[in-house]
């Protein structure tokens, strides 16, 4: 039987979602918990990777197991075995051909920043700092240019992978301001490697006047990553949810 799990994690102590030989990963921790519960190796398949230090509130993964345990009991046992910084929010039975990666319709990411000249001790773990001055209205304007179907080649870092299809659709990119906090919420049908952090970095550099206001258009036209701003630190990034036909995390 196939099950899907919704996972929340604090990425600070992990090399990312994906299992690696030398470093601990979120996937490995969950697979270890499954092995303790079922006394055999069970591989899980995530909706996609998250990078070193990136968090998730609604990562989704699927796995197969034959068991009499209810999803509720399974969740309780796995959470008992898991560390405090990784917990399973929900487990559901899904159809046998459900696939956490291929069936994902869209994903929502959030990038959190605060505008201040001073480091904020209580925000340092889950936000990045933007030193003023910054033109938030200009950022909001330019954020709208990201929305729609575009070739996002210039907003990704290629990992020595072969040339891939870099066309993606961003359904919305909202810039929410609350006091000194600036939250970037982005929903799309898929994201390239480091794409969200490249977009946010470019918008912030435009807002700081380090890049011209037409940078987004130029990057779409040329596909040149070096026209953009830097890739922002991972600790401000959270995978909020993944949407499927069957459910939304």
């Amino acid at each position: 039987m196939r099950y899907a799990m919704i996972v929340e994690y604090d990425g600070a102590n992990y090399s990312g979602w994906q299992r690696q030989k030398k470093f601990s990963s979120v996937q490995e921790e969950i697979e270890n918990a499954l092995e303790r519960l079922f006394n055999k190796q069970i591989i899980i398949t995530g909706s996609g990777r998250t990078d070193k230090g990136v968090h998730a509130e609604g990562q989704v993964a699927h796995f197969d197991v034959e068991t009499d345990l209810t999803p509720f009991k399974m969740k309780g046992s796995l959470n008992y075995f898991l560390p405090d910084d990784i917990q399973i929010i929900e487990i559901k039975k899904v159809s046998d051909d459900f696939h956490a990666q291929y069936d994902a319709i869209s994903k929502v990411y959030e990038y959190r920043a605060f505008v201040s000249r001073i480091k904020r001790p209580l925000k340092r773990k889950y936000y990045i700092q933007i030193v003023p001055p910054i033109d938030i209205n200009l950022i909001k304007e330019c954020a709208k240019k990201i929305e729609g179907e575009h070739d996002f080649a210039a907003f990704s870092v290629f990992n020595n992978q072969e040339k891939q299809n870099t066309i993606r659709t961003v359904h919305r990119l909202d810039v929410l301001v609350d006091g000194e906090e600036v939250i970037f919420q982005i929903e799309g049908n898929g994201f390239l490697y480091k794409m969200v952090r490249s977009i946010v970095g470019t918008l912030i550099w435009i807002g700081k006047g380090k890049l011209p206001a037409d940078t987004i258009e130029k990057m779409f036209e040329t596909g040149l990553r070096e026209l953009g701003g830097k890739t922002m630190l991972p600790n401000g990034l959270i995978l909020k949810s993944v949407e499927y036909k069957e459910f939304r995390s």
Copy 2:
């Protein structure tokens, strides 16, 4: 000349505000930074202690120094010497008889909780978990009983100190609910040792039906700490601000 500083800190790595011989404290870190800047020992006086693990967004302290540095320059240098989990938000010149403890008119604390059966990895550092079921409306009702002038002896833990005056005025205790988050905001003219955490613990136990709804009245009448709920963990508590005639942090 006398200066006041507004300090934000993450209390997780400190034994509390007050300098201690064996353990590192927020006060000690700031005094060490002042010593590095001015090449002499400078003692700071806080508005009051915060306990081990308790955070602050608006702790206030005063100190005396003769210097040509502007408050802005002082702040920048001190923040450079301070660790990331303690930063000075502001330094102001104050009158020579200003006293951070004795002149404090009121303080605002916030206690953060979330209601969930599952531990939340992204909230574990700055919130405590309340396992449902919980009657939030009953908590809101009982919170109103805390407001006003009362003898809070039953809501404190005495530190082998001599008998002190335990009458305090709580100006407001608001229980703010946002999704699964429950924030207790309390403002008063002064707080006894562990008073906020005892109040919140008692309210939560009432909300969970572990204590009768008239517990608050009984505790005021009798002064008995053992009638109340447990003292909640420090990581949910933040000293938000301290108010003076001259300014509010």
